[in-house]
Amino acid sequence: MTTTRADRVHAAAYRMRHHILDMGEVQGQGYVGQALGVADLLAVTHTDQLRHRAEDPEWAGRDRFLLSTGHYAIALYAALAEAGTLPVSELETYGSDGSRLPMSGMASYTPGMEISGGSLGHGLTVAVGMALGLRFQGTRQRIFNFLSDGELDEGSTWEAAMGAAHHQLGLLTALVDMNALQADGPTAGVLGIEPAEQKWEAAGWFTQRVDGNDVDSLLAAFDAAAERAQPVGQPSVILCDTRIGRGVPLLETREKAHFMRIDEHEWQLCRDQLTHGHEGARAQ
């Protein structure tokens, strides 16, 4: 049986989820629920999509991946480990004093971390500048900005969305984690952002909405975006509906919280459920 792209992404996402649980246990906390939710998406970007050199994260010809949601760093570290940019053995330092892996992502700390996110609504504005700058320099590098549905509350996101369309930044792709949850509760109750597709379309973007935990759908959406990617053209957005805690039933069914509580004895249970679910899926 040949190994397909989807198989490779599935395998990477599975390993990333284990990394995420291991890092979460180090600190006894973290944005584990969100990170598990976006593991499939980041497995696609970091093992299938981005042009990069693992041994040279500053390579000038690399595609750019901007993590606007700094608190999702735990997920990106797992992806960077899969991409070979970070050694897996380093992940256990997550959040510790002197570690290169702080709990909120910062460019000055971590290889492969392009910006210091965390103040939400910034990433897409910086991505617009990178896209303008790289196009001005005559390159065809792509720029991916990862943001959350909560960041669609921020006016600056829409300043950037309009700016990208106006300047026809066709090599820019926004990836929105639509997990329907933000700090104070469900997104629909905090500040409704639907209909999200129509808003991005109205802003001038090529818009796709997919199940962000379905690898085949993700790959198809990335392929469609890549096909259209041109230095002068429509920017592209992929709205990814994800499930918090994906892969670990204990967390998938737990009451949704921005900062999910996981008791000390539960980490191993989470890992066992993740492993069991993965093996069950493979057996089918």
Binding site: A107, S108, E114, I115, S116, G118, S119, G121, H122, L124, T125, V126, A127, V128, G129, M130, A131, L132, G133, L134, F136, Q137, G155, S156, E159, A160, M162, G163, H166, H167
Partner: protein
């Protein structure tokens, strides 16, 4: 017609910032210009006409302006991004702080209408921009006096590694400092003239007023030294305190609120050094200022040459 604070008949240069940036771009291919729908009002239009392919209009979107400037610097360009000082300082602070200053990017923020340089009232008057920006680590703050300062500062701002903020004087900008043995050096203060009775420590357009006031005070037999400190941060305490550490009357002059600007910068340097020198501030009051005509407002709030002279004579008794 842009309101000017130049005196009638005073020598001026037109749009010195725009011309200096356009000239710099000839020799430095990294230089790009950005604005947020205020190109014509920050003299950026001169650069845009000279180098249209290197000019980027971001629309009336200041958060995007500075986020995008950060992104351009991230890929090796040297952006100059212009808007009004009120919008840079009040509206886009988070973007300047986290996207530009924290990663120490070479982004040059160009702010029009600093302090009291417009009669449009508090929506346009950036009377507290220096106070806001002084707390931002890594940011260099420059308050130029005239067209000479601006022309000489622009290449030095581009050459400086980290972010800078320029309090822009725009339109017909007075030319003053070419009459003195002076060159702009980023981070350095200069003693423009010596004097035995009073020390003026000034920045921005208030150095022009300080020099005028010094001439008038000479007619009252008051001998005034003028120290121009166009870089507010980092502050050249060595040069300034060498003048301040004396028994002369020390006066700061700034186009900014008395809170958090040059006066407090000097005061903290004086205290840190253990000097007991009294410092008299000439600055804008800690208030939202009136709208109206600029010359009248400068008199009302104490920035006019005549009010400076009166204040100093009063202090000297």
């Amino acid at each position: 017609m842009i309101a000017s604070f130049a005196d009638p008949g005073q020598r001026t240069a037109s749009a010195p910032f725009g011309h200096a940036l356009a000239a710099l771009a000839e020799s430095d291919e990294r230089v790009v210009g950005l604005t947020a729908d205020l190109g014509k009002y920050t003299d950026m239009h001169v650069f845009a006409q000279a180098h249209p392919e290197r000019f980027f209009q971001l629309g009336m979107a200041e958060q995007l302006l500075f986020g995008a400037a950060a992104g351009m610097a991230e890929v090796g360009l040297v952006p100059f991004a212009s808007t009004y000082s009120v919008f840079a300082a009040r509206r886009a602070y988070d973007f300047l702080c986290l996207d530009i200053a924290e990663p120490n990017l070479n982004v040059n923020i160009v702010g029009g209408l600093p302090g009291l340089t417009t009669g449009y009232g508090p929506s346009h008057q950036a009377t507290e921009d220096v106070a806001i920006f002084r707390g931002m680590p890594k940011l260099t703050i420059v308050d130029p006096c005239d067209s000479v300062d601006i022309e000489q500062a622009v290449p030095q701002l581009a050459a400086a590694e980290g972010p800078t903020y320029l309090r822009l004087l725009r339109g017909k900008v007075p030319t003053v400092l070419d009459e003195y043995d002076y060159t702009f050096r980023l981070g350095k203060a200069s003693v423009l003239r010596g004097g035995n009775d009073v020390v003026f420590v000034s920045s921005g357009l208030m150095t022009m007023r300080a020099l005028q006031a010094a001439d008038e005070l000479a007619q009252h037999n008051v001998d005034v030294s003028v120290v121009h400190t166009p870089t507010i941060k980092p502050f050249d305490a060595e040069t300034v305190l060498a003048e301040v550490d004396s028994d002369r009357l020390v006066v700061t002059l700034e186009n900014h609120t008395v809170v958090g600007g040059l006066f407090e910068t000097l005061a903290s340097a004086v205290v840190s050094r253990g000097l007991g020198t009294r410092v008299v501030p000439i600055a804008l009051p800690d208030e939202f200022l009136d709208a109206g005509a600029l010359p009248t407002l400068h008199e009302r709030y104490g920035l006019a040459t005549s009010t400076i002279v009166d204040k100093v004579l009063g202090e000297l008794g």
